[in-house]
């Protein structure tokens, strides 16, 4: 066998051995290897998951605190019965004020790994959960703490730091170096002084020794940094050792995930949902405006010019007044022109004159008709003429008095009112506008021809969403777009005519992806859209995603997260603030 082949075989064997290693520890097999603590400042805890529940167990000061939540929604489960197997038989945990369950557990103070068995009964759901809790040995923890940075690593760090220090000193003309040079110079001066003259030598020597000692120590104190002080590297700083009782704080872990203890999750009201793949109709966003339903709104206009006066009730309907179809809202009295007045006077006089003549004729005919001198037909003609003249006279009187009444054309609310008593209304001027507030439409401008615009929703500025029913599309161009009309379905209260809305209209093109509520997507500081995945009971991981608009309340996650994941839908914004 050639050496090369042997080497290849060896490599394969090695690979197999390596692969067999993890294969042995197949899914869920950690065989007693305690889960590494998420952070040094977080108390030891254990968690268990099932289809229905998520259980977190925290042993602390001889008490086992349990937090029970729904698996899918992360909703706390109050009023559940949690029975924990203890060495003294099964014990039921009692509910605490902060929404958890507590159980006195003195047996848990023993360091080591404890595997607990909890039977959870909440309503109809029954589940048996196994929770592993590792209680650290306080002595071991204390001994291990100072030796935490590996010695070799620490020495390396120290070495690099000293080298760096010297380099820095040289460049920065450190006073210690300068002092050392000065001392050498001073000593030289003293020595020459001593060599030149011996007078006063002891005094000079004394001064020289004194200066040397003082400066020398100063120089040394600066030259050697090590006084047993800890190395001050950012990466080597030991996390503060706090008491486990007060240390459970929401925090961002070094790997970027966010740790949020259960009590904090309850405070932030974090809720999740399970992502599901689905196909949805793509929607387009259109700018829109609320308009009144043309069949449920109307205007009140005067057909003649005239003076406005209130209806018989004495008051004009004001804004917001409810009116019914046929209600009299105002009256218009047409003014009579001066020339007309003289005309009418003339006609009046003529009529009065004729009436007087015909009246006398009728009287005369009536007397003669009895004698037969005048035919009965002549009397009848005269009476008819008299009646006609009376009618014409009466109509002439009435036309000066009767005004035009303005009536409401539809049921609704007065949306616009310009009526002032005594005002002169121009013919065709709008006096009132009446709108039915429960029947409003939305007119949107679309740049594409919407074919089957079903499933349309309108989003208001305050985040409210309205369901819309497609009514029709215009064909006439308006600002390079065509108007599309929708009827607002359901509750339309709080809307006003002319309000701007964003219309999301469904189109025919179908998209597949994961639909998530708009609030689930958070924009991070670098402008990236992320969702928070609930990976374990108290851990959330940010997942960068690509989102596309879907409708008023939801967005479509096209990429970044798969189906079957728990994603935070409520409180994601707060989660993003955890540092």
């Amino acid at each position: 066998m050639s050496t090369r082949f042997a080497a290849a075989l060896r490599a394969v064997a090695l690979l197999a051995a390596v692969l067999a290693g993890p294969a042995l520890a197949h899914e869920g097999h950690d065989h007693g290897a305690a889960q590494p603590p998420v952070s040094k400042t977080i108390a030891p805890r254990g968690e268990a998951l099932s289809d229905a529940f998520e259980l977190v167990a925290i042993p602390r000061d001889g008490t086992l605190t349990l937090f029970l939540d729904r698996f899918r929604t992360n909703e706390p489960v109050p009023g559940a019965t949690i029975e924990v197997e203890t060495p003294d038989g099964p014990k039921v945990a009692t509910a605490t004020t902060d929404g958890g369950y507590a159980l006195p557990a003195p047996w848990l103070s023993k360091p080591g790994r404890h595997e607990l068995l909890a039977t959870v009964t909440a309503g109809d759901a029954v589940d048996v959960l196994t929770v592993a809790v590792t209680v650290p040995d306080p002595k071991v923890a204390a001994a291990a703490a100072p030796a935490k940075p590996a010695p070799a690593q620490a020495a390396l760090a120290r070495l690099s730091e000293v080298a760096h220090d010297v380099r820095e000193r040289l460049t920065a003309k450190d006073p210690a170096l300068v002092a050392a040079v000065a001392v050498a110079f001073l000593l030289g001066v003293l020595v020459t002084a001593l060599a030149r003259g011996r007078r006063g030598a002891p005094a000079v020597a004394l001064v020289a020794i004194g200066i040397t000692i003082v400066l020398g120590t100063a120089a040394f104190a600066h030259g050697d940094e090590d006084h047993g002080a800890p190395v001050q590297g950012a990466a080597l700083i030991e996390p503060r050792q706090t008491t486990p009782a007060s240390s459970d704080l929401a925090q961002r872990l070094p790997d970027g995930s966010v740790f949020v203890p259960k009590p904090t999750q309850r405070l932030l009201v974090l809720r999740t949902t399970m992502t599901e793949q689905g196909s949805f109709h793509r929607s387009v966003e259109l700018p829109g405006r609320i308009i009144p339903d043309p069949n449920a709104s109307g205007v009140v206009q005067s057909s003649v010019g005239g003076r406005l006066s209130p209806p018989p009730s004495g008051l004009f309907p004001r804004l917001g007044t409810k009116v019914r179809k046929g209600d009299v809202l105002a009256t218009v009295t047409p003014p009579v022109q001066a020339v007309d007045v003289s005309d009418m006077r003339q006609r009046q006089g003529e009529l009065d004159q004729q009436i007087a003549i015909v009246e006398r004729r009728v009287e005369r005919f009536r007397k003669l008709a009895t004698t037969g001198a005048v035919a009965q037909t002549q009397l009848d003609d005269a009476v008819a003429e008299l009646n006609g003249l009376h009618d014409r006279r009466a109509a002439l009187d009435k036309i000066r008095q009767q005004p035009e009444t303005l009536v409401a054309p539809v049921d609704g609310v007065v949306a616009q009112a310009t009526a002032v008593a005594g005002q002169m209304a121009a013919p065709g001027a709008m006096v009132f506008q009446i709108v039915d507030p429960n029947r409003l439409w939305v007119e949107a401008l679309s740049f594409d021809a919407l074919t089957a615009a079903q499933n349309a929703t309108a989003r208001l500025a305050d985040g409210r969403a309205l369901k819309l029913a497609y009514q029709g599309t215009g064909l006439a161009d308006r600002n390079q777009a065509i108007p599309v009309q929708f009827a607002v379905q359901g509750d339309a209260s709080g809307l006003r005519v002319g309000q701007f809305v964003t219309v999301l209209a469904g189109t025919d093109t179908e998209q597949s992806g994961l639909a998530l509520p708009r609030a689930a997507v958070v924009r991070t500081g670098n402008g990236q859209d992320v969702v928070y995945e609930h990976t374990t009971a108290e851990r959330f991981e940010a997942r960068p995603v690509r989102v596309e608009p879907l409708d008023g309340g939801r967005v479509l996650v096209a990429e970044g997260i798969g189906p079957g994941k728990r994603v935070v839908t409520q409180g994601a914004e707060l989660l993003d603030q955890v540092r």
Partner: protein
């Protein structure tokens, strides 16, 4: 030259046995992990048998062990205390007949007082 071959064969064998045991155990029951042990749960009628073995599927003597099985039967949890029997078997009797492969969990307390539990779905 022999050692790599042995490693290769052993590795492949280990991988296959691992896949085999996920589904069923040597006694026809279901196998789950409980701490550093593997436990096999066999529920037949009212009897609950639990077989304890180590990571390498070698039987572990049941003497000194104590156990509790909590099984969900008809939507209600049933607690079955387990006592060591022959070999690596612990056994207990439930009050009512257990259905086919009931959901639940088994907790074992070893001779050293350490607890281990395994979950069966």
């Amino acid at each position: 030259m022999i050692l790599p071959r042995v490693t290769l064969v052993a590795g492949l064998l280990a991988a296959t046995t691992v896949y085999a045991h996920e589904t069923s155990g040597q006694h026809g029951g279901r196998v789950a992990d409980a701490g550093k042990f593997h436990v096999e749960l066999v529920a037949k009628g009212e009897t609950v048998d639990v077989f304890v073995s180590d990571e390498g599927q070698k039987p572990v003597p049941a003497a000194g062990f104590k156990g509790t099985a909590i099984l969900v039967v008809g939507g209600k949890p049933t607690r079955v205390p387990l006592e060591p029997a022959d070999g690596n078997r612990l056994t207990g009797k439930a009050a009512a007949a257990l259905g086919d492969s009931p959901k639940g969990a088994v907790q074992l307390t070893g001779p050293d007082g350490a607890t281990a539990s395994g979950k069966f779905n």
